[in-house]
Structures are given as C-alpha cells and as structure tokens.
Subunit: 245 residues, 2 copies
DNA sequence: GAGGTTGTCTCATATAATGGGACAACCGTA
DNA sequence: TACGGTTGTCCCATTATATGAGACAACCTC
C-alpha cells in the first residue's frame, strides 16, 4: 500500500525524492529504496538526478483495465459512429461515488480539444455525462450532489457562476422526462454538451454518454436536435447490454 | 512487489482467487488479504463470488503515465494530421529491450481495426514501427533481433512465413538509405505498414511512427508514395524534439 | 443437495521492511 | 570553480508487519 501511495504521488506530479518523502512523511532512505524497486520493475521511469515518472508497466496495466470493462468495448463502435456523425467530442462515463469517472473519449474533429481525460473524475452535477448519470439516482439525492459540485473547485478551470437550485431542479425534472440532458456551460465556460444515460438489463443506469463542443458549435436549436440522436446512441448501447426498450 | 505481481496476474486474465494463488504459489489466505486491500483502494474491481478485474485507479495511473511522456503530447497533433490525411491507423512506439512498446495509436477510419494496442509490446524486427526503430540500432545487432522476432509467437495471430535473412538484410539496408521502412505482411497476414524513425537533438532514434492498413488499401505504389509522407511527419516530430535536419 | 470456490476470521511466528546515519556523486548556480 | 542542496548507495540493529495454516460460513453451479 505504501508503494502504491508512492505511485500516486508521482502521478500527482511530485517527481523528486525529497518532495515524495515530505508528502508521505517517510524517511528519505525508505522512499529511495521503494523508488528503486518500482523503477527496476518498470512501474517507474527513472532519469538519474532528474526525477521519476510513471513507467511503461502502468501504461500497460491501465490499458488492460480499460479493456477488461466490457462496457468500453461494447460502447466503442457506437461512440465512434456518434463522433463521426456529429464531429464533436464524445464521452463515456460511469458513476464513482459522487463523481463521474470517464471511461472513454473520442476527440472531436473540430480542432479544439476538451480538457477532459479518460481516467479523470469530475463532479456529477455539473457535467453532461454526470447529469445523465444522475437520472438514475433518486431525485431526493440530487440536492446533495448539486451542493457538492458547487463546492468542488477544478484546478485551472474557468468555473461559471452556478445555476440556482430551483432552476436546476426544474431542468433536471425536465431532462428526466426526455431521457437526455443538457449542460449549458455549467462545468466550464464555453463548453456545452448533450448527454444521455445507458441502462443495463435490470433497467438501472450503469453509464452515460455525452457529446460536447464549444458553445459556438452548440446553439440551442442544434442541442435540441442532438437530444434524440444522443439518446438513440445511448439506447443502442443499452440494448447491447441486454436492456429492453 | 508481491502485490504488483498480483495486479499483473489479474491483467493477464487470471481473475479467480484459486488461479492467482496457484500462479504465484502463495497461500490462498495471503492472496485473499492482498486482493482485499487492493480492491479497497480501487486498484482492483471486485465482483463478489465472480472475480477480480483491474480497477479505476489503474486506468487513472495509466493515463497519467502516458501524459507524463512529453513525446506523446508532442507527437499527437502530427499523428492526428497523418491519420486524417491517410485515413489509416497511425502508431507511435519506442524501443523497450528487443521489442516495440506502443505509446499511441490513432485508429483508421476505414472501419477495420488493428490488433495493436497502446501499452502493448511486439518484436522489433517484424513490425513497421519496430523496423523503423531498428534504423537507430547498429546493423550488427539486426541479425539477433531478426532471429528473436522469428522465434516469438503472438497469441491468436496469423503469422506468415518469415522472409529469409539475406533478403531481409538487403531490404533493411535499403530502408536505412531512404529513412523509411515497409512492413509487407511480415507481422500479420493482411496488414502492411510504412514507418519512419523519430530522432532527438542528439540525432539518435528515440521513437518511430507508422501508418498501417489492410493490404487491399496498401498496394505497392501507394506505399511508395506514403514513404516520404510518413518520413516528413517523423521529421516534424523530430524537430519538435530539437532535432536539426 | 453436493462439490468446489470464495469470503471472513484468528493467531503464533519469523520474515522482511524500516529508518537512522554516513558518504560519495552529481547538478545548478553563484 | 567552489558551493549548497539534492540524489544515489550502502550498512545494520530493530521491530513492525506481512505471512501462512487452519477452521468455518456463505455462496454459486451443476
């Protein structure tokens, strides 16, 4: 466990021995020994007198972790079709606590790239994928999630002022009826998305997808058109999981 | 180290307790305790009475590992441009021992997908990226690499009969002059690629790229045309690394 | 229901990691 | 080029820590 904390530390960008020793309050001697072992096995990349970086074995494990989720493999073709059709960035995510966990991302062809990354976490209540996932959570818990998202700060992100709760609740109720959601620059200024939930054989929401793009490519009328399209893709994935319409 | 071996074991597809205990010849009791700890921290995904899968933290670490390689970030835009221009699958890889290690992959738009995966390893001597990397290795070592590739067996792959060494050597010498390489279905039947090496400021080969596609999209004359194109992209990436033409 | 697998717990034991320290090699900078 | 700060390398007594055996219940599949 200590070794893994060390990896997390390096992942977080602390790549000097002293810094790691401080962050974990562990003697330099111990940290050094562990770094050596991890580097020798390929879990870390070591540049002498420069620092440590995450190594190739972690790339391998990470990719395998993605492949082992049948959801990713099943959803891929549908996501690609959606990306091709819309030209925008497509996301796939699942719930992880009170957050979205991004499982897949297909970059848009419009040149500008989203900040989002596979393997990243974001507040549920303020992203397209997240709100779609919330459609599978009892509305009584929405308020908490809304509050948590408001408190969360995203490093380096340009956070817009939050939508008032009353309005948010009304919108969500509306989304629930339609079975798709909008995100109107609530997570990041200049980014809008259209999302929809993915359900499994027991009809519970297990994932969600979204199409995201810069606001200038996402006027209101286009979002309205995109709703049914995104929902149709989500349904197609759901059916691949055994869901009955 | 033992815990990491356990992760590798799960990555390799052994997801039952008994199997893991056997593979690592470790008592069931110990394996169980470790699995529990790893699952509790999110490094494994546990489905009770079903098995263990690699967890979300590994996805996160894997992605971070990729981001920490400046090479990947630098090369990305060039690779995307190449993919768009050719419509085929584009690879980026580095040398890892006697193998290629794939760092990035942009799927082609022709519908059929390559077996290759980011984080995967392949013999140097029998892939497009690998042969391009070999251009940076003293020709005296080529013979060994050629032999190793011949001995390697790839699970589930349809391996064509090897090219005789004499011919192989002649081809490589040719590639060295042109600074690009061909792979004529040597790694897998039906797949052809064109590759080129990437160099850094010290003029040593640090990576390689390739464009791969099904043979029907890769007639000889197209490959000949693609050579300079792929090489130009490789040169562009090299220049981003400080290489002087 | 039976057989095999898995999850949970306890405990004595000794393995194996710990952390302190001392020293040399190295980097950037003054 | 001399310096402070950081890093790489080694040693060793200490004890904390993981180990592995076993017993039992819960569980899945056939």
């Amino acid at each position: 466990m200590r070794g893994l904390a060390l990896l997390e530390c390096v992942a977080a960008g602390t790549n000097d021995v002293k810094g790691i020793a401080t962050r974990l309050n562990t003697p330099r001697s111990t940290v050094h020994r562990m770094l050596n072992s991890l580097a020798a096995e390929g879990y870390l990349h070591h540049v002498p007198y420069k620092g440590y970086l995450l190594g190739p074995k972690l790339i391998h494990l990470g990719m395998r972790a993605l492949e082992q989720r049948p959801l990713v493999a099943l959803a891929r073709p549908h996501l690609e079709a959606l990306a091709q059709r819309t030209g925008d960035t497509v996301h796939l995510g699942v719930t992880d606590g009170a957050e979205v966990f991004y499982l897949d991302k297909i970059p848009g062809t419009r040149g500008l790239e989203m900040r989002s990354r596979v393997g990243q976490r974001m507040p549920l209540a303020s992203t397209g994928v997240g709100k779609a996932l919330m459609l599978g959570i009892p509305p009584s818990r929405w308020r908490d999630l809304y509050r948590e998202a408001g408190e969360a700060t995203i490093a380096g992100s340009d956070r817009p002022p939050p939508v008032p709760w009353a309005k948010y609740e009304t919108q969500m109720a509306d989304y629930l009826r339609r079975d798709w959601v909008f995100d109107l620059e609530e997570n990041e200024v200049g980014v809008r998305c259209v999302g929809a939930p993915v359900r499994d054989i027991s009809n519970s929401v297990v994932a969600a997808i979204s199409v995201a793009s810069a606001s200038q490519y996402m006027p209101n009328d286009r979002m309205a058109e995109l709703g049914p399209v995104v929902r149709a893709t989500a349904h197609a994935i759901s059916e691949a999981l055994g869901w009955k319409r």
